[in-house]
């Protein structure tokens, strides 16, 4: 309000001055025009000074122009102060984010849609042997060239990290996890997992070595027990204990055998190479073996709906299928039935074993493939299982890209189904390079 009044007053003053001089000299129009021109010139000059000042972008030394011009200068100064304040706040926040990522014990690399490095923290540089900010803009796959990593980055399955050794630090194991976000951007998370990898290797070695070492003393024990059982001189009262000892020794041998199978499965990395395995023949043999047993359910049936073969390892597949069949036979009463089925569809090939046994409680199903897991303590020990059968099945299926599905109703029976993906499935007639 005030500056506006002042401007009007100033203009009126100038015009009045011009009018007075005009009246005195008798040339009112001329003097009024002169006064107006002078006023306009002054304002124009001030406008140019303002423009000059704004152009310098140095707001520390504002010109004193008076009137509405001062008002503009003050407003500009205020806007500028506010801008600077916000900028500093954002910068502070940005630094904080950057500093906190620097402090992370894990390496972080931000990648854009073209896999170029957008940002990275110090740990990432250290662990991957990068040159810090100098490497920004370079494609990550040009610097991390391991074929394994390139395959992982180019693929689309980022559910689990890739564990590998880099050439810059051959003794360390790194877990590289790609996490997609936004539109094609990705975060690469790098963790040093040398300790975990070593511990895991130690555990596997230990289990394998321990099982191996236990086997020879056990052989000696079973040998003597066998001799004792056949010895006429041993008094009758020891017959039952010796028979029980033999049974337990056999069970122990079975556990050790399964442990060795498991550690062998674990020692092999990745999926098995494909060799066409004649599943139909294998299942027919399994059925024959099952029928030859003394204690078995009345009905053991096999339904073959496809003559497809499976690309995989014959020994491993046999061990998985026979484990499933063993379980079914063990848990099914003499008047029950066990049904095997082999079929193929557009999803791949499938094998299932159904029984009419006691079934499995729903809460136990997810834990069934754990080692030594017992649904109830008495049951499987009485039947002499090792507690490792389903763990072996799970491992074998993993190595074939397949999965195990367990369905069960308590009191009515269970169905164990092995699903194999289409890439493992060799339809009948296709590919005659069978191993048989």
């Amino acid at each position: 309000m005030k500056p506006r009044v002042r401007t009007v007053l100033a203009l009126a003053g100038v015009l009045a001055l011009g009018g007075v001089i005009g009246l005195i000299t008798g040339r009112v129009a001329l003097w009024l025009l002169a006064a107006l021109l002078a006023y306009t010139a002054l304002q124009l000059w001030k406008l140019h000074r303002l423009a000059e000042w704004l152009g310098k972008r140095n707001f520390s030394d504002p010109p004193s122009l008076g009137g509405v011009w001062d008002e503009i200068v003050t407003q500009v100064m205020r806007l500028n102060r506010r801008k600077r304040y916000h900028k500093q706040r954002f910068l502070a926040m940005l630094h904080e984010v950057r500093d906190s990522t620097e402090a992370l014990p894990d390496g972080v690399v931000l990648l854009n849609a073209r896999s170029e490095i957008v940002g990275l923290n110090r740990m990432a540089s250290e662990m991957l042997g990068l040159h810090g900010r100098k490497d920004i803009g370079i494609r990550i796959d040009n610097l991390l060239r391991q074929p394994e990593f390139l395959g992982y980055l180019a693929g689309s399955d980022f559910t689990s990290p890739k564990v590998l050794q880099t050439s810059t630090a051959p003794e360390t194991w790194l877990s590289l996890h790609v996490l997609p976000y936004g539109e094609g951007q990705r975060v690469l998370l790098i963790r040093n997992v040398t300790r975990e990898v070593r511990l895991d290797a130690m555990r596997k070695d230990f289990v394998a070595n321990a099982s191996h070492e236990l086997r020879s003393p056990l052989t000696v024990i079973t040998g003597y027990l066998e001799a004792l059982a056949g010895d006429e001189q041993v008094s009758e009262q020891y017959a039952a204990p010796i028979a029980e000892m033999r049974r337990q020794a056999d069970r122990m041998a079975a556990i050790i055998g399964d442990l060795l199978v498991l550690s062998r499965l674990e020692a092999k990395e990745g999926e098995v190479d494909g060799e066409a395995v004649d599943i139909v023949a294998m299942l027919a043999l399994l059925k024959k073996d099952a029928l030859a047993r003394s204690r078995r359910p009345a009905n053991v049936t096999l339904t073959i709906e496809s003559h497809s073969r499976l690309l995989g390892d014959e020994i491993e597949l046999h061990s998985a299928f026979s484990n499933l069949l063993d379980n079914a036979i063990k848990y099914t009463p003499a008047d029950g039935s066990v049904a095997m089925r082999w079929w193929a569809d557009e999803a791949g090939a499938h094998f299932s074993v159904s029984d009419t046994g006691p079934g499995i409680p729903a809460e136990a199903i997810p834990r069934l493939t754990e080692r030594f897991y017992r649904v109830d303590a008495g049951r499987s020990r009485a039947s002499g299982g090792s507690g490792l059968g389903l763990a072996i099945v799970k491992h074998v299926l993993q190595r074939h890209g397949g999965r195990l599905e367990i369905a069960s109703v308590e009191g009515r029976g269970s169905t164990f189904t092995c699903h194999f993906p289409q890439r493992r499935h060799a339809p009948p007639g296709a590919g005659s390079n069978t191993t048989h």
Partner: protein, 246 residues
Amino acid sequence: MEATDLSQHISSRFNEDLEAVRANLLAMGGLVEEQLRKGLAALTDADSTLAGEVVRDDAKVNAMEVAIDRECLRILATRSPAAGDLRLVIAVIKAITDLERIGDEARKIANISLHLATLEQPSDRYREVRHLGRLVEHMLRSALDAFARMDVDAALHIAQLDRQVDEEYESIQRQCVTFMMEDPRQIRRMLDLSWAARSLERVGDHATNIGEYVVYLVRGQDIRHRNIAEVETHPGGSAKGGGTAR
């Protein structure tokens, strides 16, 4: 670094082609690095499974060389690249040849280790050869990193490492001869070892070549058969076939 800036082409397809060729070269480099690493591990750990893998995977290296070569020819024929782009294509064509040879040397080392694995392992696990191998691996990695980063300084450094490789190779040769004279039963093994060292020395030479292509690519300057000190002090000095600046 004019050559790194591929963003100024009107045709973005052209950019992508050039980027892809560079990425493919480095992917092939990664495969060759792995082959070399596995070959050396097979030698020092007497691991015949690993050696078998190296021998088998050499076909992949060869296939990549052919594919990249074809792609480069396609770019030359259809895009007629100039200046920095032309140098990139030329450098890639040259580098894949060297990489393929390194792959061959890795296969040779694997073959030697297949043979050595049948003999008794020495207690030092071929310490000298292992050291030479690490040095050569480092050279190859630096050369490929320099290609990815367009880093002339790193590329020039590789040639200096090559001198160290030559010295170590000489010393392994002398050592082998000494062992052979001491114990003629060792001649067979020492011959094999000397061949492995020879292969590593060749890998060093090929890595040096790749470093030279990086200098050519970035500076447009041919530094083959020239003194390194001279190149470093007079970067713009007279060069055979040089001066292809924009």
